[in-house]
């Protein structure tokens, strides 16, 4: 009874969260001009959220998460070209396919230390990259997948040049998936994941089926990453090999570390900070911005991001 109470209390929505989401959704109607970068932030946030599910909640560190992002992007692209131009249907199918890939590959990451998992996931992403490169008749190879004619959203809203529809689509998707993730991590299932992360031996002694839980959450993370990739493919109507690059995996890991692991807003905060910082720095000094970004990361690491996160997390658990 008590445990159920505490779970319910933890699951309650706080007002800063509500304000945040209202603002994010209201931004759809904001004057044109910033929707494109907001769309990119929303997609990166969803991608980082998916990594958080497996890293922050299940403790599986991955340096190859782009495998699912890229797979979802190509799946959405090919579905759009050959099956249906409807974006929502394409998104759902891409998620399903990515989840299946997650199920298949989860067996490889069940064992091993951080470093081992880091490298196994990295290896999988690189292998997928090589496969995509070797199948130009499907993926368009290095030229990219072209000729995606994405249909209007819900049959009504065309994707406009200013990115308003794109942002609306991405932020609503992010919101829906976020609410779902929030329910999952605050459920008994989520709590059992935390137990595994802290001490998997003890968790299994308590009767938690460790491997099954890990496989489930890994597939869920894969589906989320696939959704992020599909959003990117559909809102830019283009997929290139770049979606599977090592840089993508590294960026999303950085994003999540900046924002903080193990709380669902970490990915969103990280995506916002990372993208805005990158955009500001690179328009200010297109040749030298990497230096300032590096300095920011070093200082952040030295100061201790935990301290900063502590401040924010009190408001948005």
């Amino acid at each position: 009874m008590k445990a159920a109470d505490s779970l319910a209390r933890r699951a309650r929505w706080r007002w800063p969260e509500i304000v945040f989401w209202l603002l994010a959704l209201a931004a759809i109607a904001a004057p044109a001009g910033k929707h494109l970068i907001l769309n990119e932030i929303a997609i990166l946030a969803l991608f980082a959220l998916s990594l958080d599910l497996i890293l922050g909640y299940a403790g599986i560190i991955s340096l190859g998460h782009a495998a699912f992002f890229g797979f979802g992007a190509y799946a959405a692209g090919l579905i759009c070209k050959y099956a249906t131009a409807d974006p929502v249907l394409g998104l759902l199918l891409a998620m399903l396919l990515s989840a299946m890939l997650g199920l298949l590959t989860s067996l490889l990451v069940l064992r091993g230390s951080d470093l081992t998992r880091l490298m196994v996931t990295l290896g999988m992403a690189l292998v997928l990259h090589e496969i995509a490169n070797a199948l130009p008749q499907w993926t368009g190879g290095a030229d990219g997948l072209q000729g995606m004619a994405v249909g209007p959203l819900l049959g009504r809203f065309d994707f406009d040049l200013f990115g308003r529809t794109a942002y609306g689509y991405s932020i609503v998707t992010l919101f829906v998936l976020f609410v779902l993730a929030r329910r999952i991590v605050k459920s008994p299932f989520g709590v059992s994941l935390m137990a595994i992360r802290r001490n998997s031996l003890r968790a299994s002694a308590l009767g938690v089926p460790v491997n099954r839980r890990l496989i489930a959450v890994y597939a869920l993370g894969a589906a989320y990453a696939g959704a992020a990739g599909a959003l990117l493919a559909q809102t830019t109507a283009y997929v290139s090999l770049d979606v599977l690059e090592f840089n993508r995996s590294a960026d999303v890991l950085l994003t999540l570390i900046i924002g903080g692991t193990g709380w669902l807003y970490g990915g969103i905060v990280g995506a916002f900070v990372f993208k805005v910082l990158q955009d500001l720095l690179s328009s200010g000094a297109p040749q030298f911005w990497l230096f300032w970004l590096g300095l920011f990361l070093v200082v952040l690491a030295l100061v201790g991001r935990d301290r900063l996160h502590g401040l924010v997390r009190r408001a948005m658990p």
């Binding site: 001009g33 990119e40 290095a142 809203f157 065309d158 406009d160 283009y238």
Partner: protein, 388 residues
Amino acid sequence: MLKRGMAAVAALALASSGAAAQETVKIGLVLPMTGQQASTGKQIEAAVKLYQAQHGNMVAGKKIEVILKDDTTVPDVTKRLATELVTNDKVAFLAGFGITPSAMSTAPVATQAKVPEIVMAAGTSSITEASPFIARTSFTLAQSSVPMAEWAFKNGIKKVVTLVSDYGPGIDAEKSFSDKFKADGGTIVENLRIPMRSPDFSPVLQKVADAKPDALFVFVPSGTGAQFVKQFVERGLDKSGVKLIATGDVTDDDQLNGMGDAVVGVINAHNYSANHNSALNKSFVEGFKKANSGMRPNFMAVGGYDGMHLIYEALKKTNGDTDGTKLMTAIKGMAWESPRGPISIDPDTRDIVQNIYIRKVQKVDGELYNVEFDTIANVKDPVKAAKK
């Protein structure tokens, strides 16, 4: 929302024709300034600056303002930046584009907003077909590899092995070279490919040694050329009678001088050499080196320089009108003298028509240069020419 989308495009069209009344014409220059392709971005940016320094920044009574953006070689970022430049900064031209996917992902933006996209670097043939608002001032890979095949067969090379990096441009080069060489009557012994990430060429070079061809045709992206040639010489393949022929990317002017004597004698085909003998090129190279602490301009730089020329001349022709359709009409068929020689924009394909030079790496005044010794005049992109 559907209507809104239409209205947005209409508003854009209005905005860009309305810009004619403004005093400033903006050019959005989207380049990879960081990442693996950073040297491409540096070369083009330097060339654009040089052009403005030499020709001023006033055209047809308008001030020209260049806005530089770093796309970090990620195509979806390129597309976002280009769209923001069009919608927020109201640029009259999009220019730059370091790699093919970047140029391709931006094509729909150019079409939708009716803004000319001047491709200054990317080299896959199909780019200009992606939008009627794309024009190119760099080159296509087939433009270099087909003349190389032609020259090789004429000069007694009958058996060739090709070796390319395993990605789009490499496969383009392999295919266009092989098709031409076979059509002329030569034999392609083997088509070898090497993964992009591979730093070691020894397995494929061993295959070449086993096949004993008259020549090895090679395309690897600029930046791997030096390693390739060094390993080729280290294995003694040059002494065993295998001629090395290449596209000019392998002997990139930017790095050529640092590659060492191993590259002396490599025969290659390309559109530009810093050693090109013309008064215009001499002043171009001198000005470029002076402004960039001795850096030598390469084929990327000349693409940027000519791209700026194309923009300036198009604006002169429209008398400062920045309507995209009018600018494209002005661009089609334009011909001028570039540091690389005479060039023009094909009115049908909006792709560049230029001389391709057969060159040999030699020492000139103690420095290594690609010395031109044969010219194939007015080469159109062979891939698109073959489609007709």
